[in-house]
Point group: C2
Chain length 296, copies 2
């Protein structure tokens, strides 16, 4: 299969859908809409929405039925980037080659833009667009899955330990704790929610969830490796940022060689999780390999 064309096709559908999430920026609160759209529509790979769609397709479902949930996942990802970039957190000035949200809109509005994106994600997942095409019980299951992945047991919990570990010596188990939660949990929720809404049977959903955990971890290790070896122009942010901030990463704790071995192992295990699936799961297989071969 032509992965590049596949990713481009799905990305285009996701972009079109994301553009329609918010009302036109009118009225007294129009600045918050501008601030949310600034970060939401700043490009990016749209990996989480695409994984949600690919997860649905792997079990015979359709992209149309999961698009609002796919977009909701990107809203949650975007909120997490805005809050992570704030001065009280990572204090970053650049994101995807553009000034970070608080650099453009100020810290108060950036904080609220993050809050607004997170909240709107749940409105999207419960909205009439998606409840018309999906079984409401499955939708509730997906909302619970996404909330768990994004909350204190997942992304928020990973971020807490990340912030508290900066500049300290930590065990490899702590790096894994951070990575499986900070990045892995939402990536897993993306592909798994697609499989649930796409009508996957229980064993299919479980297999895709196993795939999701493996590629989530592989993705974060790959991000860490890119921060050491990548090209700052392609990444849209300076390389070496993790080391200068004394961030806890796989390369910093295990060394670059073992980090690369770990990501390859994760990808192999991810692909093995899909042995019972036919060629409808080929995009998931290809995406797993792409995750560690990408340059940004």
């Amino acid at each position: 299969m032509d992965l590049k064309a596949y990713l481009e096709e799905k990305r285009t559908a996701v972009e079109a859908s994301l553009k329609g999430v918010f009302d036109k920026p009118e009225g007294p609160a129009s600045d918050i809409i501008r601030a949310m759209n600034y970060s939401l529509l700043a490009g990016g790979k749209r990996l989480r929405p695409i994984l949600c769609i690919s997860g649905a397709e792997a079990v015979g479902g359709e992209a149309r039925g999961v698009l609002p949930v796919a977009c909701a996942l990107e809203l949650i990802h975007t909120y997490s980037l805005i809050h992570d970039d704030l001065p009280v957190m990572d204090n970053d000035d650049l994101r995807r080659g553009k000034p970070t949200n608080h650099k453009v809109f100020g810290e108060a509005l950036a904080l609220l833009a993050g809050d607004g994106l997170l909240t709107e994600a749940f409105r999207l997942m419960s909205g009439p667009d998606v409840s018309k095409v999906a079984d409401p019980r499955l939708l509730l299951e997906v909302i619970g899955l996404v909330a768990t992945a994004a909350g204190y047991r997942g992304m928020v919990g990973g971020q807490v330990v990340d912030v508290q570990s900066e500049g300290r010596e930590v065990e490899p188990s702590i790096v894994e704790f951070i990575h499986t939660r900070k990045t892995g949990a939402l990536i897993n929720a993306a592909v798994t929610s697609g499989a649930i809404l796409g009508g996957g049977k229980e064993d299919q959903v479980q297999a895709i969830s196993r795939y999701g955990w493996r590629i989530g971890l592989a993705f974060q290790i790959a991000d860490d490796v890119l921060d050491v070896e990548g090209d700052s122009r392609r990444l849209g942010k300076p390389v070496g940022g993790d080391a200068s901030k004394k961030k806890i990463t796989y390369p910093s704790v295990l060394g670059l060689k073992r980090a690369k071995e770990a990501q390859r192992e994760m990808v192999e295990q991810a692909v093995q999780s899909l042995t019972a699936f036919d060629q409808k799961a080929d995009p998931l297989r290809e995406i797993a390999r792409y995750i560690i071969e990408r340059k940004k």
Copy 2:
């Protein structure tokens, strides 16, 4: 009816339920659980959860069926207080007589505690506890209603305009814009979601929603008035804070006398919205009056 006993009975049920929301604070991310519980379990009137229960009871429903949603509303309210108190927003040191979250846990953890509370609210609303007792379609409607009320069209939008209006001369219409969104939207969502989950017919839900908008506005005006006339010991925070921060309030824009007239008018209209209801709506009627007579 004995409103004091009614409020105390419901508050006790809500407190017990709130104590069980989060896992025990164990493991690497235990601090986030401590930070969330610190603000969530700091007391307070629990007005939103109680309104949700009273809304359900007014249409013949039971408290048991709405308790997870009632608690979710308190989580959302608590997150909004933590984020509002942050130095980049209102920069408050005291809340309910205790140091604010960021004063105890630092700004990064307070930010994440707010994010965690907001996210967990949606997990609660979609969880097995509530989906066992409620129609999943009604639950999705409620999740959408609460997300809209909490998001950029509601609470977040009101907060944006509030922050942007500080220290500036504004029209009375802007005060109403802020108040209906910043406080009114979630109060309305609380009582309306109770009516929906309690099995209310469409005209009943609409009447209770009208009631909700009126008491939401009355509640915020009463808060503004208390900030001018209240007792700082009872309030657990200094009085006069709004004026010193040049906050936009009803008293500051309309004067104290007209602000008090406006809140009385809102309460009368709220009670009138309930004429078609029997004595099961008495708690809602009494709560409307209590809102402007309270001392904290």
